[in-house]
């Protein structure tokens, strides 16, 4: 049976890890801060500026303060639970604790160490995060996303019955998962859940009334992702899943790619080792040892992984291959971050070309990377690479 026996519950703040730590640091600066000061800090640091208003970012401030209270980094009362309460509780004060002060200092002195420490706190305190990391450390997670109607084999909106579309979706997802060796109950659970959820969706919405984008969104968010999570035995919803993926990336403990040549969808993979392996149960007192797969880890393995990946993609010709696909293969194989890939590639090309005996030729990209993936960049000038060719020098 794939599904976990016990029902997990957890609440994750809808905020980035950086936002949480920025708030800790801002409260620590004066020792205390009001709800509104925290909200304003978040508005000012936001990459995408919210419209100026007295309650912009109030939900993020609410989630972060609740999280920090729960973890013992701040104390205080009066977090607004509804928008109507924001005005009344604007001046509620929150004070930093000693633990919070230490974390803020560490974040100021060495952000990466603070993020590692916070990762461990999350691993102990958030059951969903622990379950996600535990699963990820076992093997890569393949997410059979549906991002276009093309993936449904030529389906045309409004010309097929819901049952037929559901079968197409199930077939598309299971076939892709089968190609990467997914076995056991997972394909069966996935298929059954897709069919059940599609039937439920069809009773709520007239599918023929949706345009292509709305239909794809509905299939992806309400059918495929919940079905995939059920098959993986992960007991959280799609939004939480997205949030966990993002948090893991911020901690540099995981990464994902949709450029992997073996799988049309997202491949999410860990980029660290954690000892002992986290368990799904209550681990709130457990200490962990975290080892990132950085440049020193990858150094000895990178050249052979790169060469093997290149030979696979070039298929015995001396072709230039997609740098995105090459990076995906190497990163998943070695479980390294794209930034580590770039650093290792740079090292091999510039610092040790003679030692490696490899001639690496690169070409600028004529196509952007898949959405949300960074360019492959090398060198101090961040030169972008779109294609790459390796030969013996």
């Amino acid at each position: 049976m794939v599904a976990a026996e016990r029902k997990l519950t957890d609440t994750l703040p809808r905020a980035s890890i950086r936002q949480i730590l920025d708030v800790v640091r801002s409260i620590a600066a004066e020792g205390r801060a009001s709800f509104d000061e925290v909200r304003v800090t978040l508005v000012r640091s936001a990459a995408r500026k919210a419209p100026a208003s007295l309650d912009a970012k109030w939900t993020t401030a609410r989630d972060i303060l609740a999280e920090l209270q729960r973890l013992g980094y701040v104390v205080g009362d009066g977090i607004p639970r509804q928008k109507a309460e924001v005005s009344r509780l604007r001046l509620s004060v929150f004070e930093i604790t000693d633990t919070g002060q230490k974390l803020a200092q560490k974040y100021k002195d060495s952000p990466s160490y603070a993020l590692d420490e916070f990762f461990q706190v999350w691993l102990r305190q958030h059951a969903y995060f622990r379950a996600f990391i535990a699963r990820l450390l076992q093997s890569p997670i393949y997410v059979p996303d549906i991002t276009s109607l093309k993936e449904l084999g030529g389906y045309r909106v409004g010309q097929e019955s819901p049952e037929s579309v559901a079968t197409r979706v199930a077939d598309s997802c299971t076939q892709r998962l089968t190609t990467v060796g997914t076995s056991g109950d997972k394909p069966h659970v996935l298929t059954q859940t897709i069919l059940d959820r599609f039937a439920a969706l069809a009773t709520e919405v007239v599918l023929a009334s949706l345009d292509a984008k709305a239909l794809v969104d509905a299939i992806q968010d309400r059918v495929v992702i919940p079905a995939f999570l059920a098959a993986e035995g992960l007991q959280f919803d799609g939004v939480t899943f997205q949030h966990l993926v993002k948090a893991s990336q911020e901690f540099f403990v995981a990464s994902w790619t949709s450029s992997h040549p073996d799988f049309a969808g997202r491949v999410i993979f860990s980029t660290c080792d954690v000892e002992p392996a986290p368990s799904v149960g209550d681990d709130s007192q457990q200490g962990y040892h975290l080892s990132h797969h950085g440049r020193s880890y990858a150094a000895a393995l990178f050249e052979s992984a790169l060469t093997a990946a290149y030979e696979r993609l070039a298929r015995s010709s001396s072709a230039y291959v997609s740098a995105y696909a090459l990076r995906a293969l190497v990163c998943v194989e070695l479980r390294i971050q794209p930034l580590v890939f770039s650093a290792c590639l740079e090292h091999l090309m510039r610092d040790h070309p003679e030692a490696s005996g490899l001639a690496i030729y690169t070409e600028i990209p004529f196509e952007p990377p898949p959405k949300s993936e960074p360019y492959v960049e090398v060198g101090k000038s961040h030169s972008r690479v779109g294609r790459l060719k390796i030969s013996a020098s």
Partner: protein, 429 residues
């Protein structure tokens, strides 16, 4: 009388001779300095011009610029080399070019040659994005010289008269008849009607302006995008009639074609390269085609190229060295110095009073060259920036002391570099 500019007062220069972009424009290239390529210009001409004459077989070749680990290996002068050498060849049907490569004057005169240059571009309607469009514009290039057509016609007419197929005064008709006869004998004859018939008439006439006007005004984009190859075929047949031994056609910016073409269009155009350019007359016996390639373009062509069994143009396969030139750029300071000197003393830019490499000192030029090598484009851009700065600051001599504190910033702006921020994050270490 206009006031003297700061440039003239300070340096005896009419304008800044270095282009801020330093990209090739076939119709505006002010100065061509062959020496910037070291000996590679000879290698280039030997492979793509002399070898086909010597072996009797045209070639399909490629010009590359690739540097290990540098995805931006551009600005090495490939376009300049192809476009400007083609112009030089056309100026005297290759006589001086062949003689500079060690061929006797007699042999050079007996083996007249022509060359064409075209660059793919994706400027929407009227852009050059297919083999047909490229072929049509190769004809336009050949006519742009202003004298090639007249001389070709004269040679064709003289030959027909000496063969007894024409009499003085009726050369036009005789040339048209000779062209049509040759076209009829092609394995795949060209259907010469309407615009093509008119083209034939204009080609046989001695009025080059009228021919050019016809091609510019009467032959529309829609038509030449579908029939461009026929225009080039007919032009080559005229060359054949006139005794031209070989044509070399340079096709630039192939990546502009591949970046906007789907697999179907690429397949169709590559098929045309094989069927029309390589395997059919009049090209198969006397026309070489040389492509300017970059990895992305080559990889996008690869499947179609291999499917059509066209010869490999891989730059790092030594078996291809007879048909591939990989430009190395400014590897020697002497070449860089000559490049700067020729720009600084060209009459378009310098007054008669200008001498040598002033206002630059040799050490200053050396510093710029070291900082930008091997890319001539970066070198010329840096010289432009330094001269502009010096003029603004009214500095009489651009020496090492002037260049040193600025060169890093200039190179950064020239290459648009940013600093790497892979900072001390222990998680990536």
């Amino acid at each position: 009388m206009a006031l003297k500019s700061d440039l003239e007062q300070l340096y005896n220069l009419k304008v800044n001779p270095f282009d801020p972009k330093a990209t090739y424009n076939e119709q505006k290239q002010p100065v061509y300095v062959r020496e910037m390529f070291g000996d590679q210009w000879k290698d280039f001409l030997c492979k793509f011009v002399v070898a086909p004459l010597q072996n009797g077989h045209p070639v399909i070749g490629a010009v590359w610029s690739v540097v290990q680990g540098d995805p931006k290996a551009r600005g090495f002068g490939k376009s300049t080399l192809m476009g400007e050498e083609a112009k030089l060849i056309n100026s005297d049907f290759g006589k001086s070019t062949l003689m500079q490569l060690g061929i006797s004057e007699e042999d050079a005169l007996e083996n007249p040659i022509l060359a064409g240059y075209v660059s793919f571009n994706v400027s929407g309607y009227g852009g050059i994005s297919s083999i047909n469009a490229a072929a049509f514009h190769l004809v336009r290039f050949l006519l742009r010289d202003g004298t090639v057509h007249t001389r070709l016609r004269e040679m064709a007419a003289a030959k027909l008269i000496s063969d007894g197929k024409a009499t003085p005064g009726n050369e036009d008709v005789a040339i048209v008849n000779a062209l049509k006869e040759r076209i009829r004998k092609l394995a795949t004859p060209i259907d010469v009607r309407n615009l093509l018939d008119e083209y034939l008439m204009n080609l046989a006439s001695e009025d080059t302006d009228k021919l050019e006007q016809f091609l510019a005004d009467e032959v529309g984009t829609w038509h030449h995008d579908r029939n461009g190859l026929k225009y080039l075929q007919i032009f080559v047949i005229l060359g054949e009639l006139a005794g031209i031994e070989h044509f070399t056609f340079f096709i630039d910016q192939v990546e502009d074609f591949t970046s906007v073409s789907g697999a179907g269009k690429i397949q169709k155009n590559v098929k045309m390269i094989r069927d029309a350019l390589i395997e059919s007359e009049p090209f198969s016996s006397r026309a070489s085609f040389v492509f300017q390639l970059h990895p992305d373009a080559y990889e996008k062509l690869r499947d179609a190229w291999e499917a059509e069994e066209l010869p490999s143009l891989n730059q790092d396969d030594e078996l291809n060295s007879p048909v591939v030139v990989v430009l190395k750029g400014l590897t020697q300071f002497a070449n860089a110095k000559v490049l700067a000197e020729r720009f600084l003393n060209d009459p378009k830019f310098a007054t008669a009073l200008h001498k040598g490499i002033t206002p630059f000192t040799e050490k200053a030029l050396q510093l710029v060259w070291k900082s930008t090598k091997p890319k001539p484009r970066d070198y010329l851009r840096a010289l432009h920036a330094l001269l502009r700065l010096a003029t603004d600051q009214k500095i009489a001599t651009i020496d090492e002391d002037f260049v040193k504190p600025k060169i890093e910033r200039i190179i950064t702006s020239v290459q648009q570099e940013e600093q790497l921020d892979l900072v001390e994050d222990h998680r990536l270490a």
